[in-house]
């Protein structure tokens, strides 16, 4: 998490400008200074974690059209609570916890509305990969979405965090408020189901290795 290291080095005035609580009282400047040494600024959190959170949201089944709302919701919580975060827990764990909560709320709404079947129609990317690569990516995204949709929500969450985001089991457990054992057994089931779906897809010949 690069956010941690950057903050302490930053010039005080701009740090004060960016930390909402920093203007409370001159007497507290020193305390704030200490806090800032641990807690990254909102902008830093945003820059460092936006991509991963967006990607996770997508993989957790949030339709692309709803990603803006989900990410905004996540970062509003972050904005409101960052000052008291104090670096006591791993920042990433905290963010994942917020994301999972927001996504599960969002899932509930979308299940009701029945329009969560939307699959990404396009892969927009300013890095402009070649058309073939882009196509392969889009195909992979679509296919992965189909396969993940076959998992139940709990398994899917654990699977995405472990396999796509490569988070360690204890961190996933902390983020989800579960015991590592529970996470592990869900993950095992999820992996099995995932492999089965991959095999099925291959059998249907609907997908070629990118």
């Amino acid at each position: 998490m690069s956010g941690y290291s950057k903050v302490g080095a930053g010039p005080a005035p701009s740090a004060a400008q960016r930390t909402p609580a920093a203007t409370v009282d001159d007497d507290e400047v020193d305390d704030d200074e200490a806090a800032r040494a641990v807690v990254p600024s909102f902008d830093e959190v945003y820059d460092a974690h936006f991509s991963a959170l967006w990607r996770s949201a997508r993989a957790l089944g949030v339709p692309e059209s709803a990603c803006d709302d989900v990410l905004q919701e996540v970062f509003i919580v972050v904005h409101r609570r960052l000052a008291e975060f104090e670096g006591r827990a791993a920042l990433r764990t905290w963010l994942v916890r917020i994301l999972v909560h927001v996504v599960s709320e969002q899932r509930r709404r979308f299940r009701r509305k029945e329009d969560h079947a939307e699959l990404p129609e396009e892969v927009r990317d300013s890095r402009a990969p070649g058309p073939l690569e882009e196509l392969a990516r889009a195909e992979a995204v679509k296919l992965l979405a189909t396969i993940l949709d076959a998992l139940d929500d709990d398994q899917r969450t654990v699977f995405v965090l472990a396999e796509l985001e490569q988070l360690p089991i204890p961190e996933i457990a902390a983020a989800l408020g579960l015991s590592p054992n529970t996470v592990y057994s869900r993950l095992r089931l999820a992996r099995r189901e995932y492999e089965r779906q991959v095999a099925r897809v291959r059998a249907r010949d609907a997908w070629r290795k990118p």
């Binding site: 400008q17 609580a21 803006d68 905004q72 905290w94 992979a140 992996r191 290795k209």
Partner: protein
């Protein structure tokens, strides 16, 4: 291990399954446009929340919660409180409605919801604290305290470098706050600083509120107090988010102070700069009504 040869129960996914994950991973990344667009709407939502927070002079947890949950509603209330006294209220409110509606068109529901999700059980549990109110209060407190401080102190938190940044970013955020689905990484490379925006809007709002509160009293002296607040706003936030409102209010305040010529000059300047402003009518008719006693 390989998925091709049958999968053991344990261990990470491999083989084709892994390849699919890796390929999809790249495709799931947000584009620069996604990143920028969300940041913009966030800036708008947070700024609206921050402005609303200063409206509640009571600063109670309840008020804060409301402020955070209904930024649009509260901003409207704030706007009404701000300008109702001068008769420009309605125009201003419409102005804000339009702006806010655009800004929050895609977002108002989630923002509203986020107040409750701020009280995330999980998040609160981990900290062993009550969720939203303390955080909200802490921030609101910071904002209001900052506002109440002497101008010099507040100005000190706006070193020139930062002021330059926000001078560029604030009006931009305002002009383009309606998030477009097809936004727009080409518009501007630099992104508005959320923190700067949410720090400044409360201060801007407070100054304008001070001006309008002063204008509510029909005396030349209170008109001068209003002008002082507007001068301070002009000094600290020359192109701030509420610059348009400030300039309109200045024309009104000059008239109230009995400086009719200055008022017409200010009005002309304003109308030239903001011909389509919702405040234009109010400004155009400035000093055509019976002047305040002085």
């Amino acid at each position: 291990m390989s998925a091709d040869t049958g999968t053991p129960d344990d261990g990470p996914v491999g083989g084709e399954g892994r390849a699919l994950l890796d390929a999809a991973r790249a495709g799931l990344e947000p584009s620069e446009a996604d990143r920028t667009r969300v940041r913009r709407s966030l800036a708008a939502a947070i700024a609206a929340g921050a402005a609303a927070a200063t409206a509640g002079a009571t600063g109670s947890a309840a008020a804060s919660a409301t402020a955070a949950s209904v930024p649009l509603g509260v901003k409207l209330a704030l706007a009404a409180a701000l300008l109702a006294a001068t008769g420009a209220g309605i125009a201003y409110v419409e102005h804000v409605v339009v702006r806010e509606r655009d800004a929050t068109r895609r977002n108002d529901a989630p923002v509203a919801r986020s107040a409750s999700s701020a009280a995330l059980p999980g998040v609160g549990d981990a900290r062993g604290r009550v969720a939203a109110p303390p955080a909200a209060q802490a921030n609101d407190g910071a904002a209001s305290v900052a506002l109440d401080r002497a101008p010099a102190a507040a100005a000190a938190t706006n070193p020139p470098a930062d002021a330059r940044t926000t001078r560029v970013s604030a009006p931009h955020a305002r002009a383009t706050s309606a998030p477009s689905l097809h936004a727009t990484s080409d518009e501007r490379p630099a992104q508005p600083s959320l923190a700067a925006l949410s720090d400044e809007l409360p201060a801007e709002t407070a100054l304008l509120r001070r001006a309008h509160a002063a204008l509510a009293a029909p005396s030349a002296e209170s008109a001068r107090a209003a002008l002082e607040a507007l001068d301070e706003h002009a000094r600290r936030f020359p192109t701030g988010t509420l610059a348009e409102e400030r300039d309109a209010t200045r024309a009104i305040a000059l008239c109230a102070a009995g400086r009719v010529d200055d008022a017409s000059t200010a009005a002309r300047t304003f109308l030239a700069a903001h011909p389509g402003s919702p405040l234009a009518h109010r400004v155009r008719t400035v000093c055509t009504q019976p002047p305040a006693p002085h």
